[in-house]
């Protein structure tokens, strides 16, 4: 992961090296036509930054991309891996400093990449999109998170990033537990409640979730989405019109959760559990159902050893939480914007994308025929099903920079019984409107 050998000599030398390497990058990037992949960049260095684990699907695919890149351009890659939280805290400064990487992975969404785009800390990639034809490879729903307008709101404006992978949220279930109690895996909304009631009757808490972190907020959003159409999502995420916080979507979501907590479908412990705790309760075999994202899939394949687990999309819904994954961005202080684009293009190649899919990720530009692993196929099938109904609806915490914490605190209120569903909706409306009202 670290590739430190190249840079290990001295911290200062690394800084100096990338400074001297800036000669060709400055000035007219993108002016050259056609893919300049055969250009000779021998002796140049491209600093790539990301925060995916070496063993993750992205980590593996990007290592391959680096290999291809070094071979074809003659340039060397200085890979800097960081942590998600680190970069989240420092990107605003880092990308505008002499320490800026030449190309970096960054968190998609209004509050993150959108903010960087609005403040001019990352470069627009419109010309590169034209040169390399990336737009044709990205399906609608995936590409929303790559475009940001002058206010940093996603969905329109210039291209600022390139997603390599997708992600979405679905139901993990413990097949052995369903078999043990003779309960059918639910295929419609009523079935879910029936199955959960059956488990409660057997003394098992059916659904593990976390109100302290994202899982319960995403469940709330899925419940709202099951009653919503695309225009509601646009209103909620893109501020096209006012969200009706007393409407059927939100009322159903909060009301259902309140109901489920009351009936014991969701444990009271959820308010103090982290996502990791919730996931472990599923992996341990304590809870038969876990609603969470594709990012758990590889972990489940590896760590679930005592039972068979299955995956299914949430029943009776056309909309599903999910989006393009994190995006490649080019910081404004990149010394090699041209090489950065060459690198990004390589990450979109079929062979890199196929490896990403083969390793448990959700490639955006892969030929599905290339992927042979049955577990990978199962996941991609589910994802394709969501894409076919144009279902990707992003995540509940995206509308405002603080909504993640706001939503979690309201979810904790519901689990603890401190607020009723109606009170929860009013609280959510206040949090949401305090930021969004000015943007509409």
């Amino acid at each position: 992961m670290k590739y430190r050998i190249t840079a290990a000599t001295a911290v200062l030398a690394a800084g100096a090296l990338s400074l001297t390497a800036c000669s060709s990058g400055d000035g007219g990037d993108g002016g050259s036509s056609g893919a300049p992949a055969d250009g000779d960049y021998t002796g140049e260095t491209l600093t790539v930054m990301h925060y995916e684990g070496e063993e993750s699907a992205m980590g593996k695919a990007w290592n391959l991309a680096i290999e291809i890149f070094e071979e074809e351009t003659g340039a060397t890659v200085d890979l800097q891996t960081t942590a998600f939280e680190d970069l989240n805290a420092s990107a605003q400064q880092l990308f505008d400093s002499s320490d800026a990487p030449d190309v970096s992975e960054y968190n998609k969404g209004n509050g993150t990449a959108g903010q960087l785009a609005a403040t001019g800390v990352i470069l627009p990639l419109d010309e590169a999109y034209e040169t390399y034809g990336w737009a044709d490879k990205l399906s609608a729903g995936i590409d929303t998170i790559a475009k940001y307008d002058e206010n940093g709101v996603m969905g329109s404006g210039s291209w600022y990033g390139v997603p390599n992978y997708g992600e979405f949220v679905f139901l993990y279930f413990n097949q052995d537990m369903f078999d043990e109690y003779g309960i059918e895996v639910p295929t419609d909304a009523a079935g879910i409640e029936a199955a959960m009631q059956a488990f409660v009757d057997e003394g098992v808490t059916p659904l593990t979730t976390s109100a302290q972190e994202y899982p319960m907020g995403q469940l709330w959003y899925q419940l709202a989405l099951s009653q919503a159409d695309r225009s509601w999502v646009d209103a909620y995420q893109l501020y096209t019109e006012e969200v009706d916080w007393t409407g059927p979507e939100v009322s159903y979501a909060s009301g259902t959760l309140e109901d489920w907590v009351g009936k014991g479908y969701i444990s009271k412990d959820a308010s103090g559990m982290t996502a990791e705790d919730a996931g472990l309760a599923f992996i341990n075999g304590d809870a038969p159902m876990f609603y969470s994202g594709s990012w758990w899939y590889g972990r489940m394949l590896e760590d679930v050893t005592d039972f068979e687990f299955g995956i299914a999309n949430w029943p009776d819904t056309t909309l599903t939480p999910g989006s393009g994954g994190n995006i490649w961005v080019v910081p404004v202080e990149s010394k090699q914007p041209e090489l950065a684009e060459v690198f990004i293009d390589i990450t979109m190649r079929p062979e890199v994308q196929a490896l990403l899919g083969e390793s448990g990720g959700l490639p955006v530009a892969a030929d599905t025929a290339d992927i042979t692993d049955p577990d990978a196929q199962k996941l991609i099938e589910l994802f394709n099903e969501v894409n076919e109904r144009d279902g990707l609806s992003f995540y509940p915490d995206w509308p405002t920079p603080t909504f993640y914490g706001d939503l979690n605190s309201v979810m904790q209120g519901i689990v603890n019984g401190d607020v009723t569903a109606d009170e929860a909706n009013t609280q959510l409306m206040d949090y949401y409107e305090s930021y969004v009202a000015d943007l509409r």
């Binding site: 670290k2 290990a8 998600f84 341990n284 994202g293 990012w295």
Partner: protein
């Protein structure tokens, strides 16, 4: 890292045991104290036990068992992954270099400042001390952006000196505040005796004052070292390349966006507290002596 601040706590009980008259049987009060001390020690050792228990589990084992259960089989996977993916020796060196430089330079500056304020009694010293105290109260979040810009312009980003400079200032502000009040009560007679003997100011500081307050200075130095070692936010901002990371930053690298490879994180934490433990074994005495050790009555 909380263990760091707690670790010296059991020491007084040991010291007390030495002084106890061995012939006399323990009184009930002593038994109560002993039990409390043992409980306290257990509470302190407990997190380390958790680390030891879980560092040697494989990820599957960890996921399928409680944190208090013994590992099913001894697995070095976490330690191996940590060692292979993270350049720990480099981070350890960075941490030691930064903390040592900060503690030495900050103590020297604190002594010089407090000599002027405490012994020299410069005009407006109360206000000066107050300003130093305020410098210590500034939230680090406020320093984040301006200092980042400054070091960017100076080309010091991802250079250990950016952190050293920052913390020399922050720590010596506290050191100046503390030493100034200490030297303010320094006995006049000793200073007068020195000047009668014809000592210059420099000579007085070097040969009279510093030897007398040396215990305090060594305590200060150890504290500066530990505080700097544990710093997180500003080093996070200034140190961006993988080669420049300190130990706490390195551990942070193991936290994923949505999931954490817990066994690797635990193994890394276990490895990273080893130097801290060694440090405590060496400086235990200095620490328990307390910060006013050098006060002259």
């Amino acid at each position: 890292m909380t263990a760091v601040a707690q670790a010296p706590a059991p020491a007084p009980s040991e010291g007390g045991k030495d002084r106890r008259n061995k012939a006399r049987p323990r009184t009930p009060a002593e038994w109560v104290m002993l039990v409390l001390a043992v409980l306290g020690a257990l509470a302190i050792v407990f997190p380390m036990l958790l680390l030891l228990l879980n560092a040697f589990k494989s990820p599957q084992d960890y996921a399928n068992s409680g944190p208090l259960e013994l590992p099913q089989a001894l697995s070095f996977e976490g330690i191996k992954t940590f060692w292979e993916t993270q350049n720990f020796p480099r981070a350890l060196w960075n941490s030691i270099f930064i903390s040592t430089m900060v503690s030495i330079i900050a103590v020297v500056i604190s002594v010089l400042n407090s000599f002027a304020i405490g012994i020299g009694r410069v005009r407006g010293r109360t206000w000066i001390v107050l300003v130093f105290l305020m410098a210590n109260l500034v939230p680090q979040e406020m320093l984040f952006d301006p200092l980042f810009q400054l070091y960017d312009d100076m080309g010091l980003l991802s250079n250990p000196w950016s952190v050293i400079l920052t913390f020399v200032v922050i720590q010596s502000a506290f050191g100046t505040y503390l030493l100034s009040s200490l030297l303010g009560t320094f006995p006049k007679e000793i200073l007068e005796a020195a000047s009668v003997d014809g000592a210059t100011r420099w000579r007085t500081l070097r040969s009279v004052i510093v030897p007398i307050v040396r215990p305090t200075l060594s305590v200060l130095m150890v504290f500066f070292f530990i505080w700097t070692w544990n710093e997180f936010l500003l080093p996070l901002a200034f140190l961006n390349t993988s080669d420049s990371l300190t130990v706490p930053l390195l551990l942070e690298q193991l936290n994923g966006e949505r999931q954490t490879d817990t066994t690797t994180l635990i193994a890394g934490t276990l490895i990273s507290i080893i130097p801290t433990i060694i440090f405590f074994l060496i400086f235990q005495r200095t620490l328990t002596r307390g910060i006013t050790a050098g006060a002259v009555k």
